[in-house]
């Protein structure tokens, strides 16, 4: 029964080829000797060398990482608070507005989010730069964090928290000692999601960045507008490599944890019997 039909094999092969071939081609051509990206002229790593000497790119990369680390950390704290309020907060004045504000940024076109934040920053006279990008990124990524964390909060057993409260811990202790460890995987996933969203964002950063806040996507976009360049291929290859290693190791770790949890459960069953 569980044998794949020819149709399924074909659709999977063609589908994944479509998903991956463009990136494979990009990676291959980053090792191309020729400046012309479409003509193969032999293997070379010279574009990587040139990239490492390009201060503009390195500066932009540094700004991007700084923005991503700070904004995703803020977003994780705020998003987790928001998720807790939504799932456990009960009723309060303006709850509907609150949940609306959590979900709306997820579907808001980036151009509108960017435009509206820029108009706010100009309106209150805030100088645009790294700080304004951090504020903007924190705002939209906290909503993603909150969605990830609240789905975890909904699914776990509330009586564990109640037990901690019955046994004399304060609300904060119950959260720190019981809830937080249980939702930790979702919080970490939320942080990673916020981090990637921030690394990736071009449109909102373009609106909210000042002269001092050129991030890597802004830099890449302005270079790419002029056409394909081997340096950008090299840069893309490095970024693809980092993501691939990250995602594969994350999935291996979670798989190992799942296996371990299964073993523990079996051991507990045996102990009971």
């Amino acid at each position: 029964m569980k044998r794949l039909s020819w149709f399924n094999i074909t659709s999977l092969t063609v589908g994944f080829a479509f998903l991956y071939l463009p990136m494979v081609i990009l990676v291959i051509y980053s090792f191309n000797e020729s400046k012309l990206v479409t003509v193969w002229a032999g293997f070379s790593t010279k574009w990587y060398g040139e990239l490492l000497q390009n201060d503009a790119f390195l500066d932009a990369a540094w700004v991007t990482i700084k923005v991503a680390v700070i904004s995703s950390t803020f977003a994780t704290v705020l998003g987790t608070m928001a998720a807790y309020v939504l799932v456990r907060g009960g009723r309060f004045l303006g709850r509907t507005l609150f949940s609306g504000m959590i979900y709306a940024p997820l579907v808001m076109p980036e151009v509108i989010t960017g435009l509206s934040l820029l108009l706010l920053f100009i309106g209150i006279g805030l100088d645009r730069g790294v700080m304004t990008i951090v504020l903007a990124h924190t705002t939209f990524s906290m909503c993603y964090v909150s969605v990830v964390v609240s789905s975890r909060l909904v699914s776990f057993d509330r009586s564990l928290e109640e037990a901690a409260l019955d046994l004399g811990s304060s609300a904060w202790e119950a959260f720190r000692l019981v809830t937080l460890p249980l939702i930790a995987p979702a919080v970490i996933a939320g942080w990673l999601l916020a981090f990637t969203l921030s690394l990736d964002d071009l449109v909102i950063a373009s609106f909210t960045a000042g002269p001092g806040g050129t991030t890597l996507p802004i830099k890449i976009f302005s270079a790419v507008r002029l056409g394909v360049s081997p340096e950008i291929n090299a840069l893309s290859t490095i970024m693809i490599a980092i993501v691939t290693v990250g995602v594969i190791s994350a999935s291996l770790i979670s798989k190992r944890n799942a296996v371990k949890a299964q073993k523990d459960a079996r051991a507990a069953e045996r102990a009971e019997a």
Binding site: N8, L19, P22, L26, T38, M81, V107, S116, F221
Partner: protein, 292 residues
């Protein structure tokens, strides 16, 4: 009690200040007039509240209906978003189907392979197609080598390239919800249909498709909504002939520096999006209720 208040107030105030207020500002500026000043619109809050209210009008919205550029851009964005959503469904459904029917031990890997591109930079994934679709690009080289064509096809900087870009970048959003729906499905239903005399094709149309309906709807909204306001894909892959409202808004703001018109464009775009968003939410709610 104090702690509960803080817990609610901090994210609440953050979103009010950085989401709600900015949006109200956009709305207000869309009712203002362009002016040669800093900031480039009038009236501003400094003119006092009474003058502010009396001078706001819907002039910019009237302007949007009069100038061809805007309603053509909205229509063409809608057309591109609808058609590319449909194409993404055509490409994504067989992949999701293949994944759901694959042996159990493959599933985790296949799932990871679908999610991996999502973590890779959007910009890079769009950029990858620039080298493939250009006149001297790999696709043309390949087709000429095959002898199918003698002159390169012009694909980059046309609307076709925009379709390819949208299908490519949003494909995971289509595959995942459909896969989730197909994965939950009981395959013995198909067997029952075949036992009762349906052909395989009939069983697919009459059983599988209706049962994966929720996944199809969810996936289609997840592609349609962001595609409508898309900026990166039309500006890198599309040409001057590709009109999309996200790009128009960007140019209105950065190149023409007409803030009131840019704001009006944003307000209308949101009004158009409200309908699919509400429908999407209703679909999600129905699904949740069905699961409970």
């Amino acid at each position: 009690m104090m702690r509960r208040f803080t817990l609610i107030a901090v994210p609440y105030v953050w979103l009010l200040v950085l989401f709600m207020v900015p949006f109200l500002i956009v709305f207000k500026i869309s009712l203002s007039d362009a002016a040669l000043a800093i900031p480039p619109y009038a009236p501003t809050m400094r003119d006092g509240f009474a003058t502010l209210l009396s001078e706001l009008d819907f002039e910019n919205f009237v302007f949007l209906t009069q100038d061809d550029l805007y309603w053509k851009a909205y229509l063409s964005s809608l057309r591109i978003a609808v058609l590319s959503t449909f194409l993404t469904l055509l490409v994504g459904y067989p992949i999701a189907y293949g994944m759901a029917r694959a042996p159990d031990e493959w599933r985790a890997t296949l799932m990871m392979l679908v999610i991996l591109p999502f973590w890779t930079s959007f910009l890079i994934r769009v950029y990858a197609w620039m080298g493939i679709l250009s006149n001297e690009g790999l696709l043309n080289q390949f087709l000429i080598w095959l002898g199918l064509i003698s002159d390169p096809l012009v694909i980059l900087n046309t609307t076709i390239a925009v379709y390819i870009g949208i299908v490519y970048t949003y494909l995971p959003f289509m595959i995942l919800p459909i896969y989730a729906a197909l994965d939950r499905m009981d395959t013995s239903l198909n067997e029952a249909a075949e036992d009762l005399g349906c052909s395989r094709m009939q069983a697919f149309w009459l059983v599988t498709i209706p049962l994966s309906k929720n996944g199809i709807i969810a996936g289609s909204f997840l592609v349609f909504i962001p595609a409508l306001g898309e900026f990166v894909i039309p500006s890198l892959l599309g040409g001057s002939g590709t009109l999309m409202i996200g790009k128009v808004l960007w140019e209105e703001f950065f190149n023409n520096r007409d803030w009131p018109v840019a704001s009006a464009v944003a307000v209308v775009l949101l009004l158009i999006l409200v309908i699919p968003i509400v429908l999407f939410q209703r679909n999600q709610q129905k699904q949740q209720e069905a699961e409970q």
